[in-house]
Amino acid sequence: MENYAIKFENVSKIYKLKKKNDGNTKSSETKRFYALKNISFEIPQGEVVGILGTNGSGKSTLSLILAGISEIDEGVMHINGEQSLVAINTGLNKQLTGLENINVKGALLGLSKKQIQEIIDGVIEFAELGDFLYQPVKKYSSGMKSRLGFSISLYLNPDIIIVDEALSVGDKGFAQKCINKMNELKDEGKTIIFISHSLPQVRNFCQTAMWIEGGMLKEYGEVGEVCDHYGEYVDYYNSLTNKEKAKIRDNKFKKRIVQNPQIGFWEKVLDRIKG
């Protein structure tokens, strides 16, 4: 076995944009847009990586790709081990009780009956729902819901765990509990990808950090350095006037448009249908 968990080589992800309909010009081509452009990196096994970036820079796309949900359009991706995206509210059914929801979500994630029985006690204890466990989830507060969802995800046993903004909900106590649990997982040698806007959380929890800006990898290295640079950039960006900000955004957007895309026949037909 090699010692990397995830290896990207020039990976790109392309999204289609809807045709602009401003009334005057009629462009028949659907525009293509790099959500991620030419990204290469290698994450060693057992590392905890924080991913930073402003809104719309491609963090969530990256997490979907890492989780194996979305497919890449260009480049090569190697993943060593089973990966799982910590998704809080997915698969929770409002009408069912918390206990039943643990079964539902376990089944959705592909666990067998036996595996669900194995994790169920741990999940119940971790979620701290008390008697609410037997109440339908529609009666839950949003914090309770995320606690339940998060607990189920944490008790799965993947090699690579991807956490996308999951700790922004729930109170501080629970967030700390999650961090502690994730630290435990870290000690077990799991690779953790931690996507967050909260710089302090990233600084505390991660060893390395990755900064993605405009779909491109800007920096990947030791957590303190990257966080400093990212913090400086955000401060710099905020100090600009609105006009300058718009200019920067425009430039970034233009760089991400795909020039001369190679489109197959069927895709052209699909573009036509989708408009």
């Binding site: 979305s70 990966q83 959705l108 699909l270």
Partner: protein, 273 residues
């Protein structure tokens, strides 16, 4: 082609527990939704049957078909419709209604049509129970031929899953698919000889010959006929081998096309939403 069939079959058979759990909890959540719960799984078809009994049994007083009271004859076909109809309409929505799940976790999308059909199968079992009681009150008693229902039910499931695989993928490409299907369901009901006997088209003219031919290769009609044979005519399930071949031929083609589409688009669904 073979690769895609293998892929879909493998995904379905390795995820049997997942399919079972999804349909079970989906049903359970439906039941929890209302105060009376499972009562509605029986009450809804019962009220529908009473409606048809009132209209076709009492008001219109239709002629017996082959010596069988019209209401008995019609109901044997109608239960098939009560099963196939939600299978088709909800099957088209199978993938789209699970958007939240497929965008957030690695999920074998091709099992979704099967979950919809399995869920409807439970409702179908409820309605069959009612039917048996109804037939007993009418003086039609269970016989060994009734076991043929199991075969026809299996056939209906195969057909429904195959069709749902195609429609659910098409529905992801363009949401118009489901709207089209919803609009056409009533048409399909009247085009299938459920509410009227096919002997209406017994004249030997070219037009009627074509209509009869189209009706007979209609897969839904094969199942309708099968239910009637088992319940009322006391015939086994190998009765019409030509229609049987046509049915399995059509279902097979639908299945292959469905598998191919599922395989082709397996990673594209998330970008289609």
């Amino acid at each position: 082609m073979l690769k895609s069939i293998k892929y879909v079959l493998k995904e379905n058979f390795t995820n049997l527990f997942r399919i079972y759990s999804i349909s079970k909890y989906e049903l359970l959540s439906d039941i929890r939704d209302s105060r009376l719960g499972i009562f509605w799984n029986f009450a809804n078809p019962l009220i529908q049957i009473l409606t048809y009994y009132f209209v076709f049994g009492l008001v219109m007083n239709r002629k017996d078909v082959d010596g069988i009271p019209f209401i008995q004859w019609m109901l044997a076909g109608m239960v098939v419709w009560f099963f196939i109809n939600p299978c088709i309409t909800q099957g088209a929505n199978a993938i789209f209604s699970k958007t939240g799940v497929i965008t957030k976790m690695k999920f074998p999308v091709s099992v979704l049509p099967a979950t919809v059909v399995l869920k409807e199968l439970f409702n179908h079992a409820c309605i069959l129970l009612l039917m048996i009681i109804f037939y007993c009150t009418q003086g039609v008693y269970p016989s060994i031929e009734w076991l043929g229902i199991i075969y026809y039910c299996f056939a209906a499931c195969c057909f429904a899953v195959s069709l749902a695989m195609i429609t659910s993928v098409l529905n992801m490409i363009a949401r118009d698919t489901r709207k089209l299907i919803l609009a056409c369901m009533r048409l399909i009901l009247y085009l299938t000889p459920i509410l009227w006997p096919i002997s209406r088209f017994s004249e030997q003219t070219l037009l009627f010959d074509i209509i009869r031919f189209v009706m007979k290769i209609n897969p839904i009609y094969y199942i309708v006929c099968g239910y009637r044979d088992c319940f009322l005519y006391h015939l086994g399930f190998m009765h019409y081998w030509k229609q049987m071949l046509a049915f399995w031929g059509i279902t097979g083609i639908l299945f292959v096309v469905g598998c191919y589409m599922m395989y082709k688009f397996k990673h594209k669904f998330i970008d289609m939403i």
